[in-house]
């Protein structure tokens, strides 16, 4: 079985600071990590490989320094890593990213064997869109299982996989055919600690580096800034509001009292809202 997992190197959002003067996000010196959601997908991929045999290939698109994230993935036990890196990819939004990744996945399929499962994390902590996984599935015409909490079973002979998917109001148990794309939910497992052999192998591995041409990408207008309809106009820290948060004393009050107090509080600050909602009232 060939399992491919897409990861992203992201700034550790817990350590991002805002410049006190310019109010812009300071990226300099912020340590980078593997997107935490991706680690759940990676562990799931490694478990499947350990149970059923095969190989795990890790793919990322990013600047040359993203090699660190791939090397770390190898330390955890992945078998192969591919870094998609080219200045043409700079400024990619989710549309351009899913295009480049899907092309690279197709190329990986040609080079190392077509993947049976493509994993991604649920979303990344820096973009929070959860669009790239589904984007890849659509472009590669893969069946997609999003927000997967658990892989129940996999039948390689019948080429079927059964998973639990968390959705609003409950859990769905879904079965689908391979190949498929799975986006993995957080908290579903815990990333392993790689063995000494894995760590040594990772430290010495040559990471496969592909530029656009290597990945078989011909249409560069679909890449990077040119292929990205989304434009980040400005990144800034929200200014603190003048209004202070207020604590409502809850002792010896019924929830009705509290609700009324809360609503009265809101209406006293937003009189327009009261007028607006009054029309909807039907009692």
């Amino acid at each position: 079985m060939h399992i491919l997992i897409c990861i992203k190197q992201v700034p550790d959002s817990a350590q991002i600071r805002v410049h006190p003067v310019t109010n812009t996000i300071m990226r300099q010196g912020v340590p980078t990590i593997i997107n935490p959601y991706d680690l759940f997908a990676l562990e799931e991929a490694l478990r499947l490989r350990d149970c059923h045999g095969g190989e795990v290939t890790v793919l990322t698109m990013g600047p040359p320094m993203a090699e660190d994230a791939l090397r770390k993935a190898l330390t955890y036990g992945a078998d192969r890593a591919v870094l998609l890196t080219d200045r043409y990819f700079a400024g990619s939004d989710t549309l351009a990213t899913s295009f480049a990744l899907s092309q690279a996945i197709a190329k990986i399929g040609e080079t190392f064997g077509a993947p049976d499962i493509v994993f991604t994390g649920k979303q990344t902590i820096d973009g929070d869109t959860a669009q790239v996984g589904p984007g890849i599935a659509k472009r590669l015409d893969l069946l997609q299982l999003t927000y997967v909490a658990k892989i129940v079973s996999i039948d390689l002979d019948a080429r079927e996989i059964t998973v639990e998917r968390r959705s609003e109001g409950g859990t769905q148990t879904l079965m689908t055919k391979l190949p498929c794309l799975i986006t993995m939910l957080e908290g579903t497992n815990e990333i392993r600690r790689g063995s000494l052999d894995d760590a040594l192998r990772a430290a010495r591995s040559q990471i496969v580096k592909w530029n656009a041409a290597d990945a078989g990408i011909e249409d560069l207008t679909k890449c990077g800034l040119r292929g990205s309809p989304t434009v980040v106009k400005r990144v800034f820290a929200p200014t603190a509001r003048a209004e202070k948060a207020e604590q409502i004393d809850t002792t010896e009050k019924t929830s009705r009292d509290l609700a009324e107090e809360l609503i009265a509080g809101i209406f006293s600050r937003q009189p327009a809202l009261e007028d607006e909602l009054a029309f909807d009232g039907d009692d």
């Binding site: 006190p20 330390t75 000494l196 052999d197 040594l200 430290a203």
Partner: protein
């Protein structure tokens, strides 16, 4: 995996470990470096001032790409009482030479760079890997290490212990004693963000020039300790450290000392409006020459803080670490080149090289200083700073008192506080410890 053997294993990726690993790897040795932190530098804390001369001896063209903050053109030394400071300062345009003598650095960034150099030199570097035990053969010779990752022991001809001040592994292996509380200082430090222009203005600097302040006095509350303030490009490192034994005896809290230092009228304005980016604490070996443990043995050498190589008087540590790491690497290379085994007898070469260097010569010069400052800490860190400050104020303040009376009052204050013999004794003791 087949059992693999390295020429050398280096434990730790700080200044000493990186210097040793680079020195050996760049001379063609097969080197494995093991670091317990998430990345090289993640566990390392320093003020931090980096000394060019010692790094040049390892990586001559380090200025091309090392992340350096500011080169130092000014040093201030302040004696402080609660409201004043009396100081000495030296500033020279000569330090604006093309190959600067000292730089402030941010270790997290600097160590990443250094580690990259080590890897480029050909060493294998594993992070998040803690060495749990030294492996020995039946004769007691160290032949490799065991780690906290699943897998076999890793073999090597020689193990370089560069594990830092705590030296847990060396202590556990019986290669050294646990450092004594009076030989170790606990320092706390904060990084305060300030825009580059603001730092330039406040310290009268331009174009990457830097200034450092070292301060002693009542800020350490009679304990043996020093405070510091270093200018980085866009931040100020500020901290204070005192002996662990003094902290234990006085029950003072390090962070409270740092708060008082930051709020001292002489310091407050320098860091006003800054934002704290980082808080760190670390131990510093301060026992000096007399606290240096056995430095080599059968199949092992110890370098840097783990070998207690730190010059507390001059606030130098990283250069001693780099130099000891380099000399250990060179010694191992020479022993190997001569086709000789890594026995205690042959590795004594490292010690003799270290003895000839500034490292041991400097530490020997100040061998009595730690004991002197420790046993007389109240006099040196409270009484004298107060007396000096009062004397200075007496001299500066203009009133109708005749100058002769002022001088008499100052002299009387010194004699009252320490007595004639006490003053002479302190001067003699200090002179002897310094010589």
């Amino acid at each position: 995996m087949t059992e693999e053997k390295f020429d050398a294993i280096v434990i730790g990726a700080g200044m000493a470990g990186n210097a040793a690993a680079y020195t050996m790897a760049s001379r063609g040795l097969k080197v494995l470096q093991l670091e317990r932190g998430e990345y090289p530098g993640s566990k390392n804390v320093q003020g931090a001032i980096m000394y060019s001369n010692m790094l040049e001896k390892i990586i001559p063209d380090f200025r091309d790409d090392a992340p350096l903050e500011r080169h130092l053109i000014e040093q201030r030394f302040w004696m402080m009482d609660d409201t004043s400071h009396i100081g000495m300062q030296y500033r020279s345009d000569d330090f604006n030479e093309s190959r600067h003598n000292r730089y402030t650095v941010i270790r997290a960034q600097f160590d990443k760079w250094f580690s990259r150099k080590v890897r480029e030199a050909g060493a294998t570097v594993l992070c998040e890997t803690t060495v749990t035990e030294l492996a020995r053969d039946s004769d007691g010779k160290v032949i490799g290490v065991l780690t906290d990752r699943t897998g076999d022991m890793i073999l090597a001809d020689v193990v370089v212990l560069a594990e830092g001040v705590n030296g847990l592994l060396g202590t556990r292996a019986g290669l050294r004693e646990t450092p004594k509380p009076q030989n170790v200082a606990l320092a706390v430090k904060e990084m305060h963000f300030l825009p580059e222009e603001v730092i330039d203005q406040r310290f009268g600097l331009k174009a990457n020039e830097g200034c450092v302040i070292e301060a002693a006095g009542t800020i350490s509350r009679s304990m043996a300790g020093l405070a510091f303030l270093y200018t980085n490009k866009e931040s100020i490192s500020i901290g204070i450290g005192c002996l662990v034994s003094d902290f234990a005896a006085t029950m003072e809290s390090p962070y409270e000392l740092l708060e008082s230092f930051k709020n001292h009228p002489s310091i407050r304005t320098l860091i006003a409006g800054s934002e704290v980016k980082e808080y760190a604490a670390h131990l510093i070996p301060e026992g000096g020459y007399r606290a240096i443990p056995q430095l080599f043995g059968n199949g092992w050498v110890v370098v840097g803080d783990a070998a207690q190589l730190n010059n507390a008087v001059h606030r130098e540590g990283s250069n001693l670490a780099m130099t000891s790491g380099r000399l250990a690497g060179e010694a191992i290379f020479l022993v190997r080149k001569g086709g000789r085994p890594m026995t205690k007898e042959n590795l004594a070469l490292y010690k003799s090289m270290l003895d000839k260097s500034f490292v041991i010569k400097d530490l020997r010069k100040y061998k009595d200083m730690p004991a002197l400052l420790h046993t007389n800490s109240r006099n040196f860190f409270t009484t004298y700073p107060q007396l000096l400050s009062q004397a200075a104020q007496n001299f500066m303040r203009v009133d109708s008192t005749p100058k002769l009376d002022k001088e008499r009052a100052t002299t009387a204050a010194f004699i009252k506080a320490r007595s004639r013999w006490g003053l002479v004794g302190d001067a003699v003791r200090l002179a002897f410890a310094w010589r």
